[in-house]
């Protein structure tokens, strides 16, 4: 299924801008992994490499005030929604200058100033929470919409189906974007999925479903443009499945040896940045302009590492901040009162 009434196709400037975003994401992921192996980044880094066209093509059509939610593989969505790579890199480095001041790390990057509601470490909680945000938009009669990004692995988690039902029931302004990279961590999703193509499950809820080539930013952005307009017009939830491939393992430490090297090599040739570059060249853009765009992106990311290295570590005291407003009483808080009691 593809949208029918498409009257949009991206301009040369649109695609050039999207190449810049995709290059930012790819470079961010390369540098994040290097920094992980160098010991400057802790925990896990789930690289979005290979999937850049999806976040980029969708977020290109969102307003700053619109919202996105993400999953564990969230760097791409954050960058595409406009979160500062400096603040993101600081967060990965566990520094004070990070989006969560070093308390969240890779899987908890959020920036409410640009509508990024958060990556999320639990599948599919980014989606269910996004539906809640869409519920608030409807209640408050606001004009924004929400986009929830998730992987094909999430299609086997129960709460996702509660979310689909809820979004239809309350006719909420949300676009579901399933980034189908065909893997659930180390397993082929197909090998752990019963029944026919899982997209049929989504259709069964009455959600209009559309499929696009997730490695082609022109196609993604064309499809997204129409679906976003539908959602914004009050048509209720829409579902986009974007076929793609995860270039690396589930996380940077995972070498992905469970995959056929031929499959990986083939997928890496199906490169969204290369496709977009070819599209630009065939539309008359000189190759040096395209490569300059990519180099500019690389510089932004290189700069973000310098910023992250220079940002201070959070103070130990900050570990106890932002837990909750109501805090535990300690004996020292009321020592004086107790002494009065003793005298009595």
């Amino acid at each position: 299924m593809t949208p029918h009434s498409v009257n949009y196709s991206p301009s040369v400037n649109d695609v050039l801008s999207m190449v810049h975003t995709m290059a930012l994401i790819r470079e961010f992921e390369e540098v994040a992994a290097q920094s992980l192996f160098a010991g400057e980044v802790r925990g896990s880094v789930h690289q979005y490499s290979g999937q850049e066209a999806i976040a980029t093509g969708v977020c290109f059509h969102l307003n700053k005030s619109d919202f996105v939610s993400s999953n564990h593989r969230g760097h791409g969505h954050a960058i595409a929604k406009g979160v500062s790579p400096d603040k993101m890199m600081c967060e990965l480095f566990g520094k004070l200058g990070g989006t969560s001041h070093g308390k969240g790390g890779s899987m908890h990057i959020a920036d409410f100033s640009c509508g990024m509601l958060g990556a999320n470490g639990v599948v599919p909680d980014g989606v269910t929470i996004a539906v809640g945000a869409a519920h608030a938009i409807k209640m408050q009669k606001r004009s924004e919409i929400v986009v929830a990004f998730f992987g094909d692995g999430a299609l086997n988690r129960g709460p996702l189906f509660e979310a689909f039902n809820w979004a239809v029931l309350f006719k909420l302004p949300i676009l579901f974007v399933c980034e189908d990279n065909s893997y659930s961590v180390t397993l082929k999703t197909q090998t752990v999925t019963g029944g026919p193509d899982p997209i049929e499950r989504v259709q069964a809820f009455g959600i209009p479903c559309f499929q696009t080539n997730g490695n082609d930013v022109v196609q993604v952005s064309t499809c997204a443009k129409e679906l976003i307009e539908k959602v914004r017009s009050g048509a209720g939830p829409q579902f986009m499945r974007a076929k793609t491939y995860r270039w690396y393992g589930h996380l940077a430490h995972d070498k992905g040896l469970y995959r056929d090297p031929i499959e990986v090599a083939k997928a890496q040739k199906d490169d969204c940045i290369k496709h977009a570059s070819n599209w630009l060249e065939s539309n008359g853009v000189a190759s040096n302009i395209i490569s300059e765009t990519q180099q500019k992106a690389a510089l932004v990311i290189a700069q973000s590492v310098l910023v992250a290295r220079q940002s201070p570590l959070p103070s130990a005291g900050s570990a106890y901040e932002d837990v909750q407003d109501l805090v535990e009483q300690t004996a020292s808080d009321f020592k004086h009162d107790l002494k009065l009691q003793v005298v009595e």
Partner: protein, 344 residues
């Protein structure tokens, strides 16, 4: 009625304003009504909260008054009820999420523990999660193992949550109002066996601050620390003990986290004996945590080893004589107190 203790009546009579007799359930309903009147961002969602008025009438007629958009009947989707509450709170709403029974709240344990409790912290303080997570607890009418649990220890052990367990109609009114006003996520545990308890409630009384316990019965020989329905049993036990010449002071914590350490400390300084009583399982229960804190502070001052009473570590059984084994009855409290006071 046990609830209309001398102490309680005195507190109410000291205040002018609208005082009338109502049930614990009606008091909860009125508290929500009052907060919904005051704040258009407050909404409630859950199963059967609309025309049915909630399992105990705690939402009675609110949908008529506030409409289907603010009193929202939902599918049996606990995960999504909590996620909708969380997502809407990210956009400024103040939801009251009704989970029907504490047992069913476990279906949304992920959303409560992994998301609501930690989101403010994980996102570096960018958001507040002002949700009331209403989950009635406790044994009633032989509802057996999946409809009778008191799992407050689970929530007390989760950083980020406030935990409240009211024991009287007045407290249900005053504490629910404060919980709705709180910017922290509050696990609000009404007791199912108290729904029909009736007492005078002053609806003009200001909301009861969270984290503040109450001396329900004054005494000098021993401190009884309790909450929820068991606190009422403690008051009856104290009345019986008074007739036998033993002066027991009953402290109703009301808020379990953060608990009113100062009030407990003041009492133990006076009595040098302490008994904790709660309906939940003794092993791993919150009473153990209280005893640890008390023992560390008062080990060289206590006249007798501190003790806790809770239910045995068995699933709550159905048949009456078996269920009764799980109850911390007045008789058990009286016997335990006499043993502790008479040996010293």
């Amino acid at each position: 009625m046990s609830l209309a203790t001398k102490d309680n009546v005195k507190e109410i009579s000291e205040l002018s304003g609208s005082i009338r007799s109502m049930t614990y359930s009606q008091a909860g309903c009125l508290a929500l009504d009052r907060e919904m009147e005051l704040d258009p961002l407050v909404w409630a969602l859950g199963e059967d909260v609309g025309p049915d008025g909630g399992v105990a009438g705690q939402y009675k007629d609110l949908q008529v008054k506030y409409g289907k958009e603010r009193i929202v009947d939902t599918p049996i989707s606990e995960s999504m009820i909590m996620a909708a509450a969380i997502g809407s709170s990210l956009l400024g709403m103040r939801p009251v999420a009704e989970l029907r029974y504490a047992d069913f709240a476990l279906c949304a344990a992920d959303e409560i523990i992994n998301q609501a409790a930690k989101m403010r912290y994980m996102l570096g303080g960018q958001v507040r999660i002002p949700i009331v997570i209403r989950q009635p607890m406790g044994m009633r009418w032989g509802m057996a193992a999946q409809h009778s649990q008191s799992n407050e220890n689970l929530w007390v052990g989760t950083a980020g949550l406030v935990v409240v367990a009211p024991s009287t109609p007045q407290d249900n009114y005053g504490l629910l109002r404060s919980s709705i006003k709180s910017n922290d996520p509050v696990v609000y545990m009404e007791h199912k066996e108290l729904w029909l308890e009736t007492a005078q409630v002053d609806t003009d009384m200001p909301p009861i601050p969270l984290g503040v316990g109450k001396v329900r019965y004054p005494g000098n020989d021993i401190t009884l620390v309790s909450w929820s329905k068991t606190a009422n049993e403690c008051v009856i036990a104290a009345e019986e003990l008074a007739q036998q010449g033993i002066s027991a002071e009953v402290i109703d914590l009301r808020t379990l986290w953060p608990w009113d350490k100062k009030l407990v400390w003041q009492s133990i300084q006076k009595t040098n004996r302490v008994l904790i009583a709660h309906e939940s399982t003794e092993v791993g229960g919150f009473g153990g945590e209280l005893l640890a804190e008390i023992s560390q502070a008062f080990w060289d001052k206590l006249k007798v080893a501190p003790k806790r009473l809770g239910s045995p570590r068995i699933p709550v059984p159905y048949s009456k004589p078996l269920e009764d084994l799980c109850r911390v009855s007045v008789n058990k409290i009286v016997l335990a107190v006499k043993e502790m006071v008479e040996v010293t």
